[in-house]
Every structure is written in C-alpha cells, then in structure tokens.
Symmetry: C2
C-alpha cells in the first residue's frame, strides 16, 4: 500500500486508528479456548467488528511466537484474513527486528513477501545497514523506533549526544539513508510534549503512536503537537479495545471503544 492510499483511507474513514492485536489467551473470553485456533478466531471477530473504524491493524509478533508453530499459523491466518477481506487496511508487523545486512534482508523477505505485511517495526541500534534492506522494498514501509512509550525510553533514547538527545540523532541520521522516504517512526503518546521537536526533524513522516489509553497518553495532546497536513499519525490502541470485555459481548464492546476513538478523531480532523 502506498502512503497516498493510506492518507485517502484516513480521510474516507475519518479515522487514523490502528488496532493492536496482542492476543493473550488468558485475557480473551474462555469459550475461545475450545476452538482449534483461538487466537485467529478472536482476531477475526475483532477485525470484523472494527474494520470500518480503523485504518490499520498491528499484530505484535511476540504474542504469536509465544505459542510456537501454532502461533505462527495464527499470524499467517490473521494477515491473510485482513489482506483478503479488507485489502485497503494498512497492516503492521510489530516485530522490532534489526540485524546485519544479509540477515535484515531475510527478515524483510519474511514479513514483506512471505507474510505480505505493508510494514514492519524495526530497532535502530545497529544502524544504517541493518535498516536499509527493509527500505529497498517498494510500497512497503519501515517503522523505526525513535522515542518509545515505556519507562526504559529514558535509559538511552533521551541521553544527550553532543547537545542533542539520541532519538533526535536517530531521526536525523535515518533521513540520510537510501529510500528513507519509506520510513515511518514510533513515537510514544506518553511523551506528547516531544512531538513539537520531532516534527521539526521529520515534518512529513507518518508516526505510529502507541501509549494512548492503557499507557496514559492523551489523543488530543498528541494531535495538537504531532499532526501534519496529511494527518501523519497512526494512533494505536491494543488492550483498551481488544480486552474491553471478557464476556460474549467482547466484539460489541471492542467496537464501542473503537467508535469512541474514531469519533474523537473525526472531531479533531474536522476542527483542523
């Protein structure tokens, strides 16, 4: 999917909501456990209930890998289900990969070709040759960690490097890489006041924003400082939507939570 197509979907749906599919078998309605593939069946129900309110889905690979081969089958079925039934949805493999060049190429092949995701999250620590292999794929997007939403973000990301925080150096340096127009960035909502500075460095890039909801970030604050002319934001919510209820009404409740966010987003878009 091209960035332009993503922007069109955002305008059409009046939504820049991304739903995180981080399925923990201990947190879904118990009757799913009797099914052959509870993770996929749960995802399918969530997707069917929210697809008109969200522009993106983000399965986190950890929650699939934890169940071994069965988990990978669930991941493949989930991405195939989205691609077949809702082809205009932007798909994100939240995998946080990154390795030396020839190895990153294998990861890119795994997620962009074998699984056919539109994008993947990657970690920047190993630098240019660990990220460029992902950037080489046309109409695929590489979402690099910049400033994350967790406490540990302050361990290294905000350290002062010659008068400038590390995450700013990461943003600046990445702009010099080949095919850097295929980059997006992860910026946590819990640090809304940082968005002003970040937009000075990457005014046009899409930012994937975790941390609204369960982790305490504010949607209106993020939009105030982080939105650009093309919206430029994908706001992720995982637990707040998919675990809105553990009863038979889980899909209905998930839709209600997604709708609440979509309506807030529509209002923000209109007031722009």
């Amino acid at each position: 999917m091209t960035t332009q197509q993503l922007i069109e979907q955002i305008k059409l749906k009046k939504s820049f909501l991304c739903v995180g599919l981080d399925v923990d078998l201990n947190k879904i309605p118990e009757y799913f456990l009797e099914q052959e593939d509870p993770i996929f069946e749960f995802n399918k129900a969530i997707i069917d209930a929210t697809h008109d309110l969200a522009v993106a889905y983000k399965p986190n690979t950890a929650f699939f890998e934890a169940y071994g081969i069965k988990g990978w089958i669930s991941l493949q079925k989930t991405i195939n289900y989205i691609n077949e039934n809702y082809p205009v949805i932007f798909t994100i493999a939240d995998a946080k990969r990154g390795d030396i060049g020839n190895t990153s190429s294998m990861y890119a092949k795994a997620f962009f070709e074998d699984l056919n995701f539109d994008s993947i999250t990657v970690a920047p620590y190993m630098g240019k040759d660990s990220v460029e292999p992902f950037l080489a794929f046309e109409d695929k997007h590489t979402i690099m960690l910049a400033l994350t939403s967790n406490e540990g973000a302050f361990d290294f990301q905000t350290l002062d490097v010659d008068g400038k925080e590390l995450y700013k150096r990461v943003l600046e340096t990445s702009k010099t890489w080949k095919n850097s127009e295929n980059l997006m960035y992860v910026v946590g909502a819990t640090k809304a006041e940082y968005f002003t500075e970040i937009r000075k460095i990457v005014p046009d890039s899409f930012l994937l924003v975790p941390g609204v909801g369960a982790q305490g970030g504010s949607l209106s604050e993020v939009c105030k400082y982080g939105m650009n002319d093309n919206v430029g934001l994908l706001i992720n919510s995982s637990r707040g939507i998919i675990y809105a209820s553990k009863e038979t009404d889980f899909a209905e409740k998930a839709r209600a939570e997604a709708l609440k966010m979509q309506e807030e987003m529509a209002e923000i878009l209109q007031s722009k």
Copy 2:
C-alpha cells in the same frame, strides 16, 4: 545451562567456538532441496559433523522466518535435535528481540520455554523494562547487543554521550538491572581494540563475538584483549564453516574449518 557448565564444556573441549546456523537455501548443496525439510537436514548434518569441536550453536531466527511456518518447524526441529542429542551444547536464539515489558515476557516465553533455548540475543534501545523480563528466567542467558560487527555500529553505538561512547553507557547501565548476572553481551571481533575498554566495564561477563572470519576479525587479537580467567568468550563463525563447500563433502569441509578454529583455540587456551 548454567554459566559454570558452559565454562566446564569450554575446558573439556578446549574450544569456545559457536557455530552460526544461518541457512540460506541458495547456498547449501542442491540435493538438499529435494528433501522435505532441507534446512533441518542441513543443520543436522552440520551439527553431527562439528558437535565435539563447538560448545554452542546459534540459529539466527531471520533465516527460518524467511520460510514462514515451514521455517519455524525447521527451527523447532533444529533446537530439539540439539537438546536431545547434545544436551551439553549451549544454544543461542539469535533473535535480537526487545519490546515493552509484557511483550518481552512473551518473547522470553517463546524462546526460553516453548523452544527451550539456553539464551537469546536482545537489542538495548528500549531500555531496562524491555530486557529485565528476559533476565527473570533462571539458568537462562540474555545476550545484549553492545558493539556490533557491522558498519552501522558507528551510526549510534559509538556516539559520544557525555564523554563516553553509547555502547559503554549501555554496558554500565545494564549492570544495574535486576538479575544482571544473567547478561552476556555481543561485541564484534572487527573491533578488537575495543575489548580492553569493554573488559574494564564487564570483566566477568561472557561476550558473544561475531565477525571472525567472513567479516575480517582476528581470533588471536580478540583473545588477547577480550579473554578473562574463565575464558569469557564465545567466538561465532557462520558462513566460514557451514558454507565451506557446496558439494557432497560440505559436512567434511565444515568439520575441517571448525577443527582449524578449535585447534587455534586450544593453543590459545594452553598458552594462557
């Protein structure tokens, strides 16, 4: 496996060789492609030919994920084969994972419990709460990227943070984390002169060292500056061993390359 057991194996085998299992179907003997699971069959042959010369095997997950579910079956069969047939071998999942706390817990579960690896490589960018979930597992080891062997290492890892390179800050900070005794570190052989400084910060930790051989690092230089009283080094070789030949003699040639390294290691250990 405990660190003490690893040290005993190193002394017994007079080897601190780790063989990297990065299987690319384009680089193995063609007749493997006719088999049902060429990756596993190739790994099995390499392991059988080298197990008495190596103390560790390191499958890189990218090379399995690139083949989708079939690849994950190969990974599971490979780790099971090692654990069942060579239980004293130290196993490393070269996965370079790392995410927010509850997600890292899922990765730890995937690799330490479901697949039963002794260790996993992780990336430090997201800080303390992204690594501590791995450290909580008893007799399991978390190998954190410090200074990698690729060119991109100089993009961020060696940046000056208040008069000290970032990778040194990563090493120092990680020592304050809970269960930090379960940490090991990745330090590339291509930067042998850095080992002296690194040993001042982590004198006792094991270092996993890629970059000898194909990437140009020198074994004797690494040992000169990086070895401690318990050896404290695992030297990885992937391509130099597993792709020593593409003909029917590939296992024999792989053994010959592994033997060459083991003999050099035995000599170094004796001269200590």
